[in-house]
């Protein structure tokens, strides 16, 4: 019996490793391919870091590839604005619906999940007349894409925040804070948000990841974000375009990792804080 169990455990372990290796290869092979392409010498002979040197030379790349600089800055701006607007819109709305209008929760959920079912091209067609007004009031900066991106991230952000709100007793906590003299703003800022930290971070990750990878809407609106700039660059200089793509992936990974690290460090669950706790003498 114990022999059977041991065999089963060995099989399980093997299966786990197989899955891990397949997933690793699936994600890493294309990246290795990109790295290989960007380091090939002239005529495919030898290895050179010339492309990466060009990319690392900020002053040169700003002059030689101005679109890339413009797209990068726009994407960074959008990656900041989109999660902020999304959180300002969703957190108070969802909290209020949970507290005061529970009958509306299905409707809000439906509205938030709707963008999943709408293809980007349809969204752009629908948003075009709206953007006529947006351009009129806010100008035609690429950063106005944040409004469309907020709609795009709604389904993912809603799911994260909804899970966070379900995990705490919002009603009791807010009523307790109110009875102690807190205004609604204080309730949100001091009581609800700190307890939604994981959900807020998760919603923000998804928003940033989506914004850093978005191409269709920006392209259809003729706006230049990083993806559009890369696409255009690819037509004239494939190597630098692929190098930027790889660098953007690494950048996105670093941003998400940093956000996760900051969030977990504040919650006291980061590897460093765990290490620190281990070193501290026990109380």
């Amino acid at each position: 019996m114990s022999g059977q169990r041991a065999r089963f455990r060995r099989k399980q372990t093997l299966l786990r490793w197989v899955v891990l290796v397949v997933v690793f290869l699936f994600f890493v092979l294309p990246l290795l391919g990109m790295l290989d392409f960007t380091t090939q010498g002239p005529g495919g002979q030898g290895r050179t870091l010339a492309t990466w040197r060009t990319l690392a030379d900020v002053s040169t790349i700003s002059v030689d590839y101005p679109a890339l600089r413009e797209g990068f800055l726009a994407s960074v701006g959008l990656a900041v604005i989109t999660p902020v607007v999304m959180l300002l819109l969703l957190v108070p709305t969802m909290t209020w619906v949970r507290l005061r209008l529970p009958g509306l929760s299905r409707t809000v959920e439906f509205i938030c999940l709707l963008p999943l079912t709408v293809p980007a091209i349809v969204l752009v067609v629908g948003l075009t007349p709206v953007y006529a007004w947006v351009y009129y009031f806010l100008g035609s900066s690429t950063l106005t894409l944040a409004l469309a991106y907020v709609i795009l991230v709604l389904p993912y952000a809603y799911r994260s925040l909804d899970a966070g709100l379900r995990a705490i007793d919002v009603r009791t906590l807010s009523e307790a804070a109110r009875s102690l003299g807190a205004s609604w703003f204080t309730v949100m800022w001091r009581v609800i948000l700190p307890n939604l930290r994981t959900a807020v971070l998760s919603a923000s990750f998804l928003s940033v990841a989506l914004v850093l990878g978005e191409f269709t809407i920006a392209n259809l609106f003729s706006k230049k974000n990083l993806q559009v700039a890369m696409y255009e660059l690819g037509k004239s200089d494939a190597k630098i375009s692929v190098a930027v793509g790889l660098a953007a992936l690494v950048f996105g990974f670093v941003v998400l990792f940093a956000m996760s690290f900051v969030g977990s460090a504040r919650a006291g669950t980061s590897p460093f804080s765990r290490l620190r706790r281990r070193k501290e003498p026990s109380a």
Binding site: E175, A176, R178, S179, L180, A182, P194
Partner: protein
Amino acid sequence: MSATATAQGTPVQLTDLRRVYGGVAALDGLTLHLEPGELVALLGPSGCGKTTALRCLAGLEDPDSGTIEVGGRDVTRIPTNKRDMGMVFQAYSLFPHMTARQNVEFGLELRGRDRSARRARAAEMLDLVGLGKHADKYAHQMSGGQQQRVALARALAIEPQVLLLDEPLSALDAKVRTQLRDEIRRIQLEVGTTTLFVTHDQEEALAVADRVGVMSTGRLEQVAAPAELYTSPRTPFVADFVGLTNRLRARVEGGRAQVLGGSIPLLEGSATGPDVVVLVRPEGVTVAPAEGASAAGSASVVSASFLGGHGRVIARTTDDELVTVQVPNTDVTRYRPGDAVVLGPRGDAALAVSAD
């Protein structure tokens, strides 16, 4: 518990409060007065409106009509955060991201107290509830009883005009519940804050309150001191809801009820007419082994149970009525199912209701 509340608190007056949810009246003209420093318990079954009354007083619900006055000031339309009331909830309500100390300091911080004053007050309050050594613990590091104590400390730290307790013990196990309820009473007497305590547990209400208000379908059936409520219920609902009650057919003669071969006086408000049903407590009935021929009050034992501090005998009369009798725990072994016994009234006054 018969301690007397100190008169440091604030009077509270609820007048003709009405609150309707989807056609059902949760509060139907509730009027209640709380003396300064008094602890009043609202008792009743689920859905009777007791929590709605407390939430209206806290400002968490708006009454459809009626007024709420605290210290002579009309607060009916004042928002919760301006009412200056401390509240302990049925659900655990400590802010999970704060330590016990930070929780207690929260209300003080909102009132602009400086850090050292906050610290001192929080320490004082945590000591008051016996958790001075747990100040740096988070909610998930404390037991349910400890969390409710911190919640009490947090509510009292702001020196509220009124303390509101919304079934604060219902999530706790029986032993902790009893300990904490006595502690709540001790602390309430110490600080002298006018307190409204909502519970569905009659023992809890009778044990801690200066007065108990029994509610049914949005109305107050009776408000009285615990002993008076128990011995002199004014309505059949109160008699039934508070304690165990035998419903026994009786005849009224000369203002007294003839029941179980004896005669008992009737309480004010009793039904008149020859045939009535009297509501008699188990301790208002005597039982003894039958000796000789059957007589009035004859019955046979159905069951006899040992309940710790006392015993209980259930007997069936010759009129096919089941009668519950409270007996000393040492007497339980004298009775076995099927034994012939004689029942009789002890003589305490009882409420009579119509036999229809």
